[in-house]
Symmetry: D3
Subunit: 218 residues, 6 copies
């Protein structure tokens, strides 16, 4: 596909440390549909998130993972904003101490919430943070799912008090459950976050980035 | 698709209690590919597992879920037998007290291991069970993934001592991570196991069933 | 006492693995009252439960253990059925991961409840099981005793709502406390369940067995 | 049996608070063997421990309880001194926060160890206490039994390093298991310690008391 | 300052074991203000508490520690009696298994409460003890602070039901927080309690001691 | 002291929410030494940290708190850099979910470490972070102190392997213990971080700020 077989630009910068425990395939050796998805991703974010590189080690699982992600994250209906979805991912990934997922999704949460201070608070103690009562109810439900609690009608009533119906509950639960899987894969493969995420959403150029972030970001 | 709109035979028998918290769609209203998969499933198992009915409420997520399952469970390479895979699912789902997953997969473990007593032991205390040292090492690793532990090289070394290479480790981790997601969806939707599972693999007809169980069973 | 000094029929079948950590005495060396109790037990169950063999290592403790068991299990008054008592033992022994006690008493629970599926559910997650509200209240109280919680009047009120009076509370507490002791002895001696228990109560011959099970079974 | 039907001298003093949750029978209504054991007990200790009064509510369980206690506590062989046995009871009962058992047996431990300061240390943090390495090994094993840990050969090896053989291990385990039961009964019945225990073993008259304490004390 | 350079009388008696992990400075080498405080302390208690000796290793921290202690313990306003303050210290130090603090402050609690039996109960299970409802509310609040719980208005309401206003709440919180620090310093330095504390407040001479105990005691 | 009695500039901006649960005194009503310390603080940081305002409610405790802080934080000897000290505070305050302390000290850690990404990693999972082995050893020891673990010679040996001697151990322990106290006071008073901290150490002006930060910052 290319004379230059070295896989990904970003990796050159951080070559002191591998981005995961398994070898990352050369771009030229990857199936076409995977490269296509990667290139689209790289265009929107400005760099290719390491999870794409790492999971391409097993193309059929790569496809299944991103197809699932797409089915639940890019769903067009429901009351969950992009900021809501990122908040769910941040809080439940923190519970699992998942460095990769929290670095990536707290960055996206800063972008969508336009509130980096709030994102920092959430990483320390969401109960004490400036999240709204609605957001706290959503987070509390997501954590119940994350802990594999027995879910009862009480859980649904609390959500309804803040305007979330049963379809929203399903959306919160599905995103949480998907990241329960993702967090475990990250811990297993030991994926390192791209350096680009640390400053994302902290500067004044947030607005521009936000407009571009339309492709999946996992 | 059919004049008789009542969805699934099995449900009639257990009509005292809904099989999940969300409505189950009528078969006639489902997309063709989903009905096709359901009918194939029903032919092999003898009944349609409730998870198929329940997840059909959201067709795109249904497709993503079973495609992912298929990519990791029906993979043809590697050292994990079907009994191994079911054992992983049983032990990690027990950790989450997931009634549906343990009833279903302990049944399949009985079928594939041909050892119902061992399956019962595993449900009580796998450390005290008659599992082999190899199986115990596999279970221990699966539980580390299930608990979202920080995975280190030590984990891989212990697996290698029992003949599992890095590809096997990936398979164990992926199945465990997928069921971390599935267990949470089950708790959320409150899926009830089909009655047929309780006796599966306990009778002398196990051999026949085993031959038929080639389609995915989640 | 007998020409054939080899102690117990059942042991021959499972000679690959000792039934406990301490030596099992020869039948001919045991005091007469202990042999008598063993033979009665063997007649009713069809085999001699391993706990009898193992505890005979210390005859005076053997006598104390079974006399105590008899005083609380075979009490003729009160509202606890045999199925209730076995349910209490199963759930509290599961909390201690006691393989022997759960294998034995889940078998007896299958026999007395005539519901093997329910017994399997209870071993996975009793809260999600088909136990009645009355049985769940009983189990909840037994678990409070098992955890050595501070017991308050609230505990008694909850029992009363389901028809259990203070004498029944005493019975639940005593059985639970006795098995707190028994579970620890089992873990210490590492007693292995007799193979006969795994299938007990799963077949159609349950009714016959049930009639015979009148002697103590620990 | 007596004109004066009021049961026990000691109770008069502490009449502000019942000694347990269940009614204490009148002495005149109790079976002869139970009264006999009580009177012997009262002669040696100087007062009747409340557990005797409270358990007499169910005579057959009273007999089973003290017969069992007698079989394991007053055993004449083995390396465990009376101080050792009391130490085991104190530490494992503390784990269950059992006020009655700790008050009673820390008193007896003071009497037998002749070291009230050591008894106080043990009630706060036995690891930091002046217990000998031998005593700490014994306590560590007792706690493993108390927690219903899976016991392995390692546990036995650690005991052997301090001179405890397999018979001693059995003695430690049995006393611990018996008090696992007793602690739960105490929590259930809410037994209050006799006031006499608080000062026992703290004064110079310890020697005399020690000589008299030959009857069972539970 | 003195020809006899050996630091403290008390230490001679217990010379088998060092009173802490760091060297104790010679009295002659200590700054004058520190010696002065020590001598005052020794006059009132009859011996010099080991924490004074041990912390003098770093004079500036010694001064900061006792100045802080003095500011919160010897405050003249508020509803907390000396017994209340000692009770707070005992219960929260028990939570941290801090042998030194519990030995010292349970002794002082015996002195101020004039109730050694109550002090012993508190060391075993304060919930089951004879503490008043007011004292239990105070202890419950102190434990919430000790556990670094998120404190809410509910905590204050419960205190108010027992007559504690917001100034008292501050006093309880400050003493608890200070001992959270002190307990960790004790664990770190491994300070051993003076032998004199074990019998303090147990004898009839309590009244006299109480009158003398006016200087700070940490 | 001033015609304008409204206490602190910063508070005007965030007037929607009180900075703590207790009233903040007017500057004019405060003792001179406290105002002096506050003004010095304000000059260096650019704003007055809320902990100063809040603790001034009790002047004698304010003085004790900052004197203690000063004795341990501004000590001139030892191997701990300012970045080390801030790292200790961040990690142990995270364990207690102390929003105020983590916001403030992660800001200062960014300033002194000149590595905002590292600070963010530490807030998520320090074990997976890019901290050096030396820093991880220091953090591990600080967490042992924070958890009130029994400290043994093993802890010191691990520190020594990374060049920390017993004086450094004392410094780590003291800072940790002091913040165990501070975290509990923050939870109790519910102190809100100044907005200025969120961006501190994230911009290019860090170098300048760092030069100015010489006064105590708690």
């Amino acid at each position: 596909m290319t004379l230059n077989s070295y896989p990904f630009e970003d990796e050159k910068e951080e070559n002191s440390k591998p981005i995961g425990r398994y070898p990352v395939p050369y771009k030229k050796d990857l199936p076409f549909d995977i490269v296509e998805l990667m290139e689209e991703m790289e265009r929107t974010t400005g760099f290719l998130p390491n999870v794409f590189k790492v999971l391409s080690y097993r193309p059929s699982e790569f496809r299944a993972f991103f197809a699932y992600y797409n089915a639940i994250y890019n769903k067009e209906t429901g009351r969950l904003s992009k900021a809501d979805k990122e908040l769910i991912i941040v809080v439940t990934s923190l519970r699992e101490r998942c460095l990769y997922s929290v670095v990536v999704h707290s960055a996206l949460y800063r972008v969508y919430s336009k509130n980096p201070g709030l994102s920092d608070q959430v990483c320390i103690n969401w109960r004490k943070s400036d999240l709204s009562a609605r957001e706290k109810a959503m987070v509390e439900f997501a954590l119940a799912i994350s802990q594999a609690d027995d879910i009862t009608e009480d859980h649904f009533k609390k959500l309804e008090m803040h305007g979330f119906d049963r379809e929203d509950a399903w959306d919160i639960a599905t995103i949480t459950a998907f990241y329960a899987m993702a967090n475990r894969l990250v811990h297993f493969i030991d994926i390192i976050p791209n350096k680009g995420y640390y400053s994302l959403g902290r500067n004044n150029d947030t607005k521009q980035i936000e407009n571009e972030l339309t492709a999946p970001e996992v």
